[in-house]
Symmetry: D2
Subunit: 342 residues, 4 copies
Amino acid sequence: MTHRIAILGASGYTGAELVRLIATHPGMEIVALSAERKAGMTMAEVFPHLRHLDLPRLVKISQIDMGQVDLCFCALPHATSQEVIRDLPRDLKIVDLSADFRLRDPGEYERWYGKPHAAPELQAEAVYGLTEFYREEIRAARLVAGTGCNAATGQYALRPLISAGVIDLDEIVIDLKTGVSGAGRSLRENLLHAELSEGFHPYAAGGTHRHLAEFDQEFSALAGREVRVQFTPHLMPANRGILATVYLRGEAGEVHEVLKSAYGAEPFIEVLPFGALPSTRHVRGSNFVHVGVVGDRIPGRCLVVVALDNLTKGSSGQALQNANLMLGEEETAGLMLAPVFP
Amino acid sequence: MTHRIAILGASGYTGAELVRLIATHPGMEIVALSAERKAGMTMAEVFPHLRHLDLPRLVKISQIDMGQVDLCFCALPHATSQEVIRDLPRDLKIVDLSADFRLRDPGEYERWYGKPHAAPELQAEAVYGLTEFYREEIRAARLVAGTGCNAATGQYALRPLISAGVIDLDEIVIDLKTGVSGAGRSLRENLLHAELSEGFHPYAAGGTHRHLAEFDQEFSALAGREVRVQFTPHLMPANRGILATVYLRGEAGEVHEVLKSAYGAEPFIEVLPFGALPSTRHVRGSNFVHVGVVGDRIPGRCLVVVALDNLTKGSSGQALQNANLMLGEEETAGLMLAPVFP
Amino acid sequence: MTHRIAILGASGYTGAELVRLIATHPGMEIVALSAERKAGMTMAEVFPHLRHLDLPRLVKISQIDMGQVDLCFCALPHATSQEVIRDLPRDLKIVDLSADFRLRDPGEYERWYGKPHAAPELQAEAVYGLTEFYREEIRAARLVAGTGCNAATGQYALRPLISAGVIDLDEIVIDLKTGVSGAGRSLRENLLHAELSEGFHPYAAGGTHRHLAEFDQEFSALAGREVRVQFTPHLMPANRGILATVYLRGEAGEVHEVLKSAYGAEPFIEVLPFGALPSTRHVRGSNFVHVGVVGDRIPGRCLVVVALDNLTKGSSGQALQNANLMLGEEETAGLMLAPVFP
Amino acid sequence: MTHRIAILGASGYTGAELVRLIATHPGMEIVALSAERKAGMTMAEVFPHLRHLDLPRLVKISQIDMGQVDLCFCALPHATSQEVIRDLPRDLKIVDLSADFRLRDPGEYERWYGKPHAAPELQAEAVYGLTEFYREEIRAARLVAGTGCNAATGQYALRPLISAGVIDLDEIVIDLKTGVSGAGRSLRENLLHAELSEGFHPYAAGGTHRHLAEFDQEFSALAGREVRVQFTPHLMPANRGILATVYLRGEAGEVHEVLKSAYGAEPFIEVLPFGALPSTRHVRGSNFVHVGVVGDRIPGRCLVVVALDNLTKGSSGQALQNANLMLGEEETAGLMLAPVFP
């Protein structure tokens, strides 16, 4: 049986990435693509790399007959998403890629995003979409909230270690480097090629990046106490990829063992041999996550380094993996593409 | 039935690209991978982006039992390839990715490559691997010679036009731009990141590039007379992609019609609407070819612009497409991956 | 004596490049910087790389006392420039970097730019700013029109050859590759890093690029007959640099001799040894031009390849060179910075 | 008076950078350039971007008459440098850019570099070349040891803070990102464009990078006790630039004040306004250092971020600044070039 898929916000990078992945999925058919401002255009005009595919023309959301849709991906901007989803049929399966349903506490949402949530009742219903840690809840969910791409990366380093109690919860530093596609296709001066290539800089430093809200929520829940990490994102001159260098207090060997054990059966997470370190270019364009562990010369300290592709495992790949679970498909369907290197 | 595949020279970029593509091929299994100097290593050590795959360890060619192999890809350096293939079983199906069997005339081979061919009898047997134009010969072939990546790009622009007699054969300029992966993983100063990024330059200009031998052979055979094109390759600061800007004398509308008609049924070649121009980034990582046509303000002159990925359609993707034909597989099997953008 | 300099439009790349160059100029002092929308800001806020310099704060043009200015650089957008310059004092020395005063014929201006010129009387007064060919006129000029960066590059290849009568005027192809900074700091989707890096494409092909108007005007005037070249610009994934590959009919040796002779005394133009080819990375950040000549295997055909930095010799460096002449300064003052490589 | 300069090892990037900087230096003349394997070639052949300069031909070191040289820059590989310098005249002023004379303790040298020093008596004589902190010693020195580029970056963040006693010496993490030119022009697979662009990875993690020896030596001497930092270098896909993100325990406001006060009179070090963060692209090609400070949401923790150009302030610019002091030249001569952006 082929599931009928709609993608709302198909003119952005995460929308296009969903189309790319679903193109080789054996059990899904794209029946609707929306883009409010580009309604009427073909995907070939908006994304010429998808020219070879037979896709429906872009329409406005209001033009889609949701009764003919089995699952809807929402790749809309933050804040817009909650208003759109609020008005969708209440029995429609939805995977949201925005930040709108990641936080369970309406107060926390308002604090980090600066205004009240438009659909607080759905916040409670939404399941947090970090597949490996919410698999059963996602399988049963109607509404899944995709995680922040940076938030996913940090959590792959830390969740098993917090659960196992092998690190000091008060001494966690996440120094993270992200590619530019994470910022989307928006017209901002600092995203221009001339501004961004050939250089490197931090941004939203000092505890101000909104993905901290996810770290706070998830790590505190796991630990059963408040956990506050330090987190500094940097923008790197590459289109895809996130690399998190996580500084920890804990025994490196034990940390490596815990991660190997936690991820041993996971289809997409590769824990490297002890001492080996990952690179974003080795997961590029794929749903895989590479995790490395190395000890420091200072006893009792170690590093965990995690690399993934922000558009795939950090966003659209994760969304498809969750949709597979929600629809009873093979979890890995459409997602076993090898990374593209060089 | 699953075909058993060997890849000789698996530690180079075209070898790795073959592994990437075959990874999702439903009818092929990789049973042997060779790399003389890296024999004993795992592919994960040589190419960490393939870490998730269950692959045989690298061995020397002499260690492979060719009796257990249905088809062998040779991704070895030029000159080495002819010596290795000369000694392989004469009933083994082979797709060679080197330059060694592209030229049918031993004299031409010696003239362009500077020494006599080691297996001239196989030169005669080999079929030129430009799939769309040698499809039936390839289906029946035992030994197929992969084309030069630049040579393929220029031919996609020109072959139908030469056949149709709609252009002036004495006035053809191919200004070509290629990504750096075409030069392979070799240690040369001019391939270093610091030497190559942030800049652009021509090389092998003025009629000295070896892929001209393929243009001469193929275009002259098609035209039934000697054809000599001008060809200037340039190295661009990107890893993948070739773009050829071809200057022609002919009516632009007619040129567009001939190309549309020639490629209308081809699964991998997309002729863009008249006036639209391709970009290498829209075929990146895929087996697709984009072809654009535009007229010039000077009457009777026009441009054909062709973009493809040198490692995929220009090399390993072409090789797999040919292997599919030789093995009776679906021609597109393993090759329908959408381009990776951004 | 120190000349007092104003730069109008200092928040764009050519404005910033002027500041960078003038920073080490012994005979100039920047007394005013304008930027309408960013008036009130410091240059350190707009261009942090100029933070170490003691510069006036950005103001609106109307706030500048032009009586205190010896020479004014106009780095404003096309169309805006003509309106601003029309209203400046008629005895103020001006170097304009826009397209507004490049064409002498109001009809041609209207044809290529789509509307009548706002200051046609100044069109007649303006001197075309290609320094090496208009040196004496520039020395005496009040208003100098900076050339198009692509137009400059093509002219460095062709002017001496047209003057010497050694090439076929009806068979000229300019295949040009330009870096992204030539498009300025404007917010356009196709200038985003994610859209532009890792790829290559042509644009404004087939005789539609506005710099053709400069080629037409200048080459026809030189030849004493109408000359129409073919010209295809491409956008390359690098910030700075233009490389023009020019296909010609003429004897390569003679072409090389003519260029060597024409440029032998020029401080910024380097004609490479016969057969050597330039690269944009070897002129990056400098006012130098590298020119190479190579013959083709087809007798009577050859290539001239020219590389320069679009922001320096193609724009702000050229402007400063012209200002030096207009003010009686050493022509090379502030411009002998070596290229930055790697 | 013009000082006569020799550069040993002129065929590498730091040698070329010295030539670039000295090109506009009013008080220096390059009288000899060495490159053992490229002896006999011109600099234009080895570095075409220096083509416009009138430079001596490359020779072997043994061919240079050191009696005609006032100061010698040694841009030779590590280990080679100590053997060459040992045999130079003992009254020749020398600025060494290698690692050979950075460590004062022969035992530490052997521990980090794996073999005994060839000229331990010169180790004691050499002055550590971090100009701002050894200015008077350098002025009087005969032999100055250029610092590691990463080591310089980290020290600009930390030295004033250690001296002022405002941070916790046991809780220092330096997460550092460096451009590829720091690795020199050596032929290594991981420096190829295809291996390095479009990705990001750490290396020498966990306390193994040799620049740690400099941190240990300098910070411990400053503090009067053993100081051991955590240090993780990463390779970024850019040619130039180092950015260090330094995690500290201390009051952010106090940290900012101490740095502002320490660097207030320095010509090349810019402390940004509190909360502003630097970018490598804003110091590119220059001798400037940008320093930013921001507090963390966790009280008592803060970040210092430092950006500089590894080839300029991190290496050849630092060397020239030191040479200026040793020769009685203006300290900033030849070094006031503004950064090149974009």
